[in-house]
């Protein structure tokens, strides 16, 4: 059974490889985004040494690594699932001898690995040449960061799948998907790191799963969070991964008895 799932990763990886041309321009787009924020943050810092607990050097690194990490964890599983539900092809998925949710997760992972190898890694090299990004020297931080990146992917995919599965109940969950996207970009700390939010908002966002996607791994990578605190942060990610399994499971259970195919 496991080998079937692993094959899903492989197939999706190869599928992405077939359309790789789009990705070269994608690297430039990400570099442009990082560049825009780099200049902006530089101007924002001005003569200030430290803002929101981060130096300008840490901020540059944070912006670069957040965008490159986004390339890895980002996927359109919500849209894929919603489309399969709308066009009815999900019915075929039901009769196949595998778990639909795990298959989607694996496909997302294949996509993620593809982007990590052919997008994030070369992209990061280019960005390091263009902007003063400071990479951590401690291999332990790298190992921890990669592990956290994997959990970013898991949590983000869980949120995506949950959003996608709502199509079972809402017929049209387009609005929900768009709002989820804004929520992830905003509340995960991609646009502004958590520590810049006003106190009450920061406290509120700490209770949401989104910060585990971008902010926590970024904070570890830049050295803002180090030592034992870094392991605590990993614990937070782990906790959210486990908690999010519950709504996923409940939704999936009740969705199966609710399916009606529109059109088909």
């Amino acid at each position: 059974m496991l080998s079937a799932y692993l094959d899903m990763i492989r197939i999706r990886f190869l599928m992405m490889l077939a359309y790789r041309v789009n990705y070269y321009s994608g690297i430039i787009i990400y570099a442009l985004n990082i560049g825009a924020y780099y200049f902006l943050w530089k101007a924002i810092y001005g003569t200030n040494e430290v803002l929101g607990g981060m130096t300008v050097g840490q901020m540059t690194t944070y912006v670069a690594v957040s965008w490159m990490a986004r390339a890895f964890y980002f996927n359109n599983l919500d849209r894929e699932i919603a489309n399969e539900i709308k066009d009815g092809s999900v019915a075929v998925q039901f009769i196949r001898p595998y778990n639909y949710v795990i298959v989607k997760m694996m496909q997302g992972f294949g996509e993620g690995i593809f982007r990590l190898l052919l997008f994030s890694t070369p992209g990061m090299v280019i960005v390091c040449f263009l902007f003063p990004v400071k990479l951590p020297t401690d291999p332990g931080v790298w190992a921890l960061f990669l592990l956290m990146l994997f959990f970013s992917f898991l949590i983000n995919s869980q949120i995506n799948i949950i959003t996608g599965l709502f199509a079972f109940f809402l017929e049209n969950n387009e609005g929900m998907m768009r709002m989820k996207r804004v929520a992830v970009d905003l509340f995960s700390g991609l646009v502004v790191p958590m520590s810049f939010f006003p106190g009450w908002a920061e406290g509120l966002l700490k209770l949401l799963p989104f910060q585990a996607i971008t902010y926590l791994p970024g904070a570890v990578f830049t050295g803002k969070v180090a030592g034992t605190a870094a392991y605590q942060v990993l614990g937070v990610q782990l906790l959210w991964f486990v908690i999010l399994i519950i709504p996923l499971f409940v939704l999936w259970r009740s969705a199966r008895t609710r399916l009606f195919v529109q059109g088909g």
Binding site: V21, S25, L40, A43, I44, L51, R178, M179, V182, P198
Partner: protein, 261 residues
């Protein structure tokens, strides 16, 4: 007159398709506003920690951002040819357009009209008014006219750039992914050009003049002494870019032979 009646008919058509899915329309408006809210939120949060970006304060940055949204919202209402290559060239829908009497580009624009984006322009305008009152800069009798002229110029710049890069589809039918790239570059326009380095500044002023869709025209109202004259180049640059783009477009249309099927 003929074109005006076309606009009316296409709008009627648009309303009919929209009324079939009423909630979709509002969801689209709401999510457009949310995406804009994201950037607004960024500005507001950042100014909790600093007084200035470059030499510009919060209200000035908000004003620039508000201006940026006005021409963009209007432009994006009339121009949605992001999938021009696939839909019109590869699938061959352009043949249908070319057999009709109205100018092809106008038909293409009207076919893909999206009035929900006008709400973005409206929001931008409200932000401008708000920061205007906060800044306490005066209002002379010709300011509204200058504003209209500058917005028209900015729209022409958008038109010039995007029509040019869309018309590349006539010369190569492989996807290049250049349009999303431009879309990301244009966002540089909503912050002061003074914060970027020289190379980027030159690029955004003369090569891909996105500086003229946000910062320069807005600076006309904010700091007339320094930027007033330069900002008035906006309509001129717009005219040059739009004319060049239309020339290339027409040349491309003549070259178009269909892609089979």
């Amino acid at each position: 007159m003929f074109y005006l009646s076309l606009v009316a008919d296409y709008l009627k058509n648009y309303m009919k398709t929209r009324l079939a899915y009423r909630s979709d329309f509002w969801i689209e408006v709401l999510s457009d506003l949310l995406f804009n809210g994201l950037n607004l939120f960024f500005i507001l949060v950042v100014f909790q920690h600093t007084q200035q970006i470059g030499e510009w304060n919060e209200q000035q940055i908000l004003f620039i951002y508000g201006y940026f949204m006005v021409p963009y919202g209007i432009f994006i209402t009339f121009f949605n040819l992001w999938n021009f290559s696939e839909r019109y060239i590869v699938k061959g829908e352009l043949d249908r357009i070319l057999t009709r009497p109205a100018y092809n580009l106008i038909q293409l624009m009207l076919e893909n009209i999206d009035p929900s984006s006008l709400f973005s322009a409206l929001t931008g305008f409200l932000i401008m008014i708000y920061s205007w009152t906060q800044l306490g800069i005066g209002l002379t009798w010709y300011d509204p006219f200058v504003f209209l002229l500058l917005v028209a110029g900015s729209i022409m710049i958008y038109g010039g750039i995007y029509i040019f890069f869309t018309s590349l589809a006539f010369f190569s039918d492989s996807p290049t992914g250049i349009l999303p790239l431009l879309w990301n570059l244009q966002n540089y326009g909503r912050y002061p050009m003074t914060i970027y380095n020289k190379l980027l500044g030159l690029l955004l002023t003369w090569a891909l003049p996105f500086g003229f869709v946000g910062f320069y025209p807005a600076a006309y109202f904010l700091d007339r002494e320094h930027w007033g004259q330069f900002a008035l180049l906006t309509p001129l640059v717009g005219l040059v870019f739009l004319t060049a783009a239309l020339f290339i477009w027409n040349f491309g249309i003549k070259r178009y032979r269909g892609a089979g099927s």
